[in-house]
Symmetry: C2
Subunit: 289 residues, 2 copies
């Protein structure tokens, strides 16, 4: 816990050596180091990660890097929002001590050829639709954790499959970092916050709420004793498909660790949905119960 | 540098928590940590790595793990020598402070599914003959470096491609460890030390010397002004092929970093050879000049 409640200076750097020196100094001072990897375009979901890191750690590093290797060839790498100055201000207010924003060339120098892959977990759900996405995520997160050497790293539950994969990677590779998953932050009407919500027009945003309705429906059905998970999946899908402009990618109930679709109810489950709403792809999830 | 020249106790453990505690204590005491990953069956080549680590570091960890994922299905995993007590004694004499010998089950627990892959470098030479070998090596070395968090890790030049790949992996993944490559240790007649030399009978051992002769021949030819690298490769191959019982896998002159075969001489080159001698596969290399 930080004993210091005064406003602190935030170091902003793209320099690997400066980052390593700062991390070494914090480590030498016996500080607990937290890391919040982001692609910028920060919203209240990211801020909640930084605030939790600030509450649990002495030295909070946020990373801001729009990682090209996790975008597919048809995806929105070029138009992905990059409001750098606003992001810096938000980090500062959220209690970040160091903002690391490396260049693409320094993260992937000439001759770059190493990739970290988690098998199995990465081919399901999002991985089926975005075949190279998670390889890009695990590789860049491994690099950022090696660079920042945090005690804890914070990820949002919103990207449920991502946090499950990163958790598995850290366990499998014996990385000395605890993965902390923080609750999804939602607008008052239930829409999960996402940098991609900025692409939605008013009609699409209203349709996007069908994902949250499908998740609530699944939770309510389990809560009231429905045991037929196949029937619940069909009801989730129907809830979304009856909404104008929504094309469902998947609607499932799965094991939270293996992400395998479940046939029988079990104590811990997760409902996962993905759909295209107009040109924008949305995902959401909810733990059950 | 260790100021302590008295004999020290060596901790022997298979326990991850005990390893992490010891590393944390050494780190907290400001010690420089060195790591020497091995598969055991230690010979003077391994010992030289440990001695160099002992000379350059305060706290030396040797790891002893016969890694199943780097053996092919037709390879010698089951019969690979495992003289544990003798290995412990050798480590102790060489100045090792901690010997970590994890079980296969603790390194690869149920559900294990993460792999580190270096592309390009791993498909050439040894990788062409042993398609999954280097994926197994990079994955287990990443794990061992994450567990031991060393400032320096020591590898033998004997496995030239391996050290080049591990060097690339550490650079690409921003791992906070310096890779130190130590000179190949040879018998007086030139045979490079290898745990697999134990498989050679007297006749095969004599034939195995042809690999070293081919390397010396390449070096001599470059030294005396030969510019035709294709001609040198042919001469290297002929030197080995004219030896009874030797089946050449490759004989080349390559760039030491990219391992790409060279057509024109350049300041830094490496001669690489591999051959089967009876049932045993031998490799060797020499930097030129």
């Amino acid at each position: 816990m930080s004993a210091d409640s005064l406003p602190r200076e935030m170091l902003i750097t793209a320099d690997f050596s400066e980052l390593r020196r700062s991390v070494a100094a914090a480590r030498h001072a016996g500080q607990i180091i937290g890391c919040v990897p982001t692609m910028g375009a920060l919203h209240a979901g990211h801020i909640s990660l930084m605030q939790q890191a600030h509450a649990e750690c002495d030295f909070v590093i946020a990373t801001l890097f729009v990682n090209p290797t996790q975008f597919g060839p048809q995806e929105d790498l070029q138009k992905y929002p990059r409001p750098f100055e606003a992001d810096c201000d938000k980090c500062r207010v959220a209690g970040v001590d160091l903002l690391f924003h490396p260049s693409v060339e320094s993260i992937y120098p000439p001759g770059y050829s190493t990739f970290v892959e988690v098998e199995g977990l990465t081919t399901k759900w999002e991985g089926a639709v975005r075949p190279t996405h998670f390889r890009g995520v695990t590789t860049v997160v491994a690099k950022l954790l090696n660079l920042t050497q945090p005690d804890k790293a914070y990820f949002g539950q919103k990207d449920f499959q991502q946090q499950a994969i990163i958790r598995r990677m850290c366990r499998d590779l014996d990385m000395p970092t605890e993965i902390v998953t923080c609750p999804t932050v939602r607008d008052p009407d239930g829409l999960a916050l996402s940098s991609r919500n900025a692409y939605l027009n008013v009609t699409e945003r209203a349709s996007g709420l069908s994902l949250y309705r499908a998740l609530c429906l699944a939770r309510d059905k389990v809560r009231t004793g429905e045991k037929d998970l196949a029937a619940i999946r069909l009801a989730m899908r129907a809830e979304m498909e009856q909404t104008p402009g929504v094309a469902v990618d998947y609607a499932t109930i799965a094991d939270p660790d293996s992400l395998v679709e479940l046939n029988e109810p079990q104590p811990r489950m997760v409902a996962l949905v993905a759909a295209r709403v107009g040109p924008t792809r949305l995902i959401d999830n909810r733990l059950i119960p």
